[in-house]
Symmetry: D2
Subunit: 282 residues, 4 copies
Amino acid sequence: MKIKSFRSVASQYKAIFFDSYGVLKNYNGLIEGVENTIQELRNQGIIIHVLTNDASRGPQELAEKFHKLGLIEIEADDIISSGMMAREYLRLKVKEGTVAYLGTENSAHYIETANLHTIPLSDLDFDKVHEISALVLLDDEGFDWNTDFNKAINLLRIRNIPVVIANTDHTYPVSGNQVALAIGGIGNLLESVVKKRFIRFGKPDSQMFIFAYEHLLQKSNLHKSEILMVGDSLRTDIMGGNKFGFDTALVLTGKTLPKEAKMLIKTTGVIPDYVCESVAMG
Amino acid sequence: MKIKSFRSVASQYKAIFFDSYGVLKNYNGLIEGVENTIQELRNQGIIIHVLTNDASRGPQELAEKFHKLGLIEIEADDIISSGMMAREYLRLKVKEGTVAYLGTENSAHYIETANLHTIPLSDLDFDKVHEISALVLLDDEGFDWNTDFNKAINLLRIRNIPVVIANTDHTYPVSGNQVALAIGGIGNLLESVVKKRFIRFGKPDSQMFIFAYEHLLQKSNLHKSEILMVGDSLRTDIMGGNKFGFDTALVLTGKTLPKEAKMLIKTTGVIPDYVCESVAMG
Amino acid sequence: MKIKSFRSVASQYKAIFFDSYGVLKNYNGLIEGVENTIQELRNQGIIIHVLTNDASRGPQELAEKFHKLGLIEIEADDIISSGMMAREYLRLKVKEGTVAYLGTENSAHYIETANLHTIPLSDLDFDKVHEISALVLLDDEGFDWNTDFNKAINLLRIRNIPVVIANTDHTYPVSGNQVALAIGGIGNLLESVVKKRFIRFGKPDSQMFIFAYEHLLQKSNLHKSEILMVGDSLRTDIMGGNKFGFDTALVLTGKTLPKEAKMLIKTTGVIPDYVCESVAMG
Amino acid sequence: MKIKSFRSVASQYKAIFFDSYGVLKNYNGLIEGVENTIQELRNQGIIIHVLTNDASRGPQELAEKFHKLGLIEIEADDIISSGMMAREYLRLKVKEGTVAYLGTENSAHYIETANLHTIPLSDLDFDKVHEISALVLLDDEGFDWNTDFNKAINLLRIRNIPVVIANTDHTYPVSGNQVALAIGGIGNLLESVVKKRFIRFGKPDSQMFIFAYEHLLQKSNLHKSEILMVGDSLRTDIMGGNKFGFDTALVLTGKTLPKEAKMLIKTTGVIPDYVCESVAMG
């Protein structure tokens, strides 16, 4: 495993898709050097998108969070979130009824903008369970795990409805050495208990990459080989990017620790085209 | 699938091992006819044991719960709980240090009687994490799922210690048609997140059956073929009983609903020797 | 679950995507009424595609097989096979070296047309293992399971290379009541033994649906809601179609037996928009 | 992880249970120093048992294989094989009919000595499928994988009978750096395809340890804490030994390579009490 400078890697591509958490920012704020990198890439005319498995809020709010951290170059239109896949599914396939959700009020954005009624699962009255047409798992916050997890089990024992997991991450970092369970992990447990097949959106699933690629094609007619996916997670960013046909670069500022990278690439068989210390261009 | 009367089945055996929840009692109290059945079996000289995946309290308290419900014939000494397996493991293999646990104070009984210091995971100060020599999952109550689940993940990222799941059930019924997640389900999620191998005690694991069988041999020299295991769960009671070499009877007063029994036996391939409506002897 | 006539369902759509095996044909030849259905749909101007998880031969040969059975309306250009996804991946991501494969010589078509050298795994000399740049699983025939499965394990212990499963089916029917293991099932075992992450192509994966959809858009600018996916498998055709946003119809002439359909829809939570006895238009 | 000399470890115990393959012997013959170790332990009055997941032949033949290699001290009575667990199950629970098996003729020993009729699955005529009362997976040799695996799938689609896996190993070493799939791996695939629950015997399952412990108690009244389990596999020998309450020693002459041992103990959370280079006493 040879570490390459991000500058030398990036210059070979006409568009770069970045994961957000662990790549552009973390629990401390922006990753060192990110503002400069984004500025330089823009100057070189390289198109930038952010592909995030974060369904906890809409793209506008996700962009505003970047702005508050000082990264003013990222606009809502540059952001593709897994919540947007969930919204497209709801629009196309769940045309009526009320959609119950696990997550914060912010995360319900994706259901509301699909023009569906929403109800947090915690507010659901079991007498009205027959009005529910889908259950969407959006965020690990905003509900009581014990109470609402059991409510979800029992909802799905009564109603045979689609269940959407809008974030496939299992955990996320909350400090330098601590992680927390993400809604994807909670969804896996719920699926194994009710023994049904849920619908997952978010990297490594191809639908997220398709969506981003089509979004890009509206601006510029690039071939897949001209696009680089940059991420900190072998399982989501690199696996998904490789499978979709993009070149991939693993950075070591997030989930994959520098000391583990070589071993993990070997044991998982998920092989990035490049490994870079970070997206900083030094 | 032919339904047999429990009376005709029971009379062929010299000892009968009963699962507790769904067989002798449920959320409403005792299953109809249970007092009479136990009385009659005792009168016929049939030895009775209760084998339960309940590690939420010690055998003395489990017996007292039966007494309060009106089943005065069950003594602490008749009860084998999965918590007792966990205790034996701790005694033999975790000789020192403090054992952290998820569960109620009552459930900590099994660690305390192994002469080990205990601490509820919620009280654990991360500065003292190096004193922890094992983590035991005892009960789904007594802790905040969100906070303490994440604490468990992070404890296991720092400390390479044995993790014991003292109840392998995934869910348990809380009313006529609702279920709740059991600590075994929480344990499965934790194991998949930290990617380590936990130690599980409780049916269908053989260790529970050998413990009960050896306990029985102290009173009476019976052959395995003279013993019947009665349970409401194909996955735990019947699977485990079959594998250990006992004859098995499925009752339809708990997890396995009458309308599903035939289909479940076929799809799982877990085949009880008998199916009875309940343990009532009518 | 209400059974609808395929005629009434089909007339609502402008394009219909059919699974092949179990929908258009089976081990006996064409499903009754298929020629007429395809003819009628063409007459109504409905665009037809075949989406198959069959990577055992190229689209031209797949079309010829239909012709021999008497279905002359299906052309190579109408067929999207999972092998085509594997080929695109190989083209974009495996630019050099020799690709080893499990499958018949016919199935190697997909690697050869990616302009890569191929070698059946059985011919691989372990002295030349370092020339191998990928392993592709194409078909369950054409190799000795025992010898070549073990060869695959050992190749992957030495070489950290991408492994592609070009058919995600677990089994396929070989007569009225017998099934055989498909290459997807063999791939799952290989993956669990070597503990690496393989790349899977084929329904329910979205990449197959996007490929077909883009192919369609070259002819006609249809919205996803104007397209129907018809299949016999809940896990692949219906799950994948639903997730991608197509309407879906389950037919009962293949994997899903008429007597099981209702129960399987309930237990899996995979819910087709329609259930039809077959594609026959009566 | 501190490496200890086996001499210093062994002297603390009154009985030692050895795994066979990777501990006492390998593809080359006896592990260096084994004869001397067994001799010395016998001289010290330490009781020796061999616990092996090898169901490919009976204990008498397993002992004779040791004798041919020059280890004349191991008698049939010292050997506990997973096949013996399968035999006990068949005796107690499958009282009549014909038992079909996958494996060599030698491996059928365990079914024959349970006084049951046997038939290799390859010889089974599907007209006589209703005479089959169980299927036992004994060895990865003696049958054609392709033909007979598919025959097993279809047998289990027609007949709801117990399936026993008499060897839980996934792979076994066949040379210095090559492995082969073991019958346990084939069994896992079969189970996932037919979606039924099989009965597994062999380490790490407790039943094997119970059987060995009870066998030992007939000779000497030892406490669990006086017994050491020595193995080369964390997943089977060490996991199972720990759980049963024995002390455990990992040796590095088999599955667990010296360079991986530390990392594997950390990532699996399966922690041996000791790590020794080999059983040689130098």
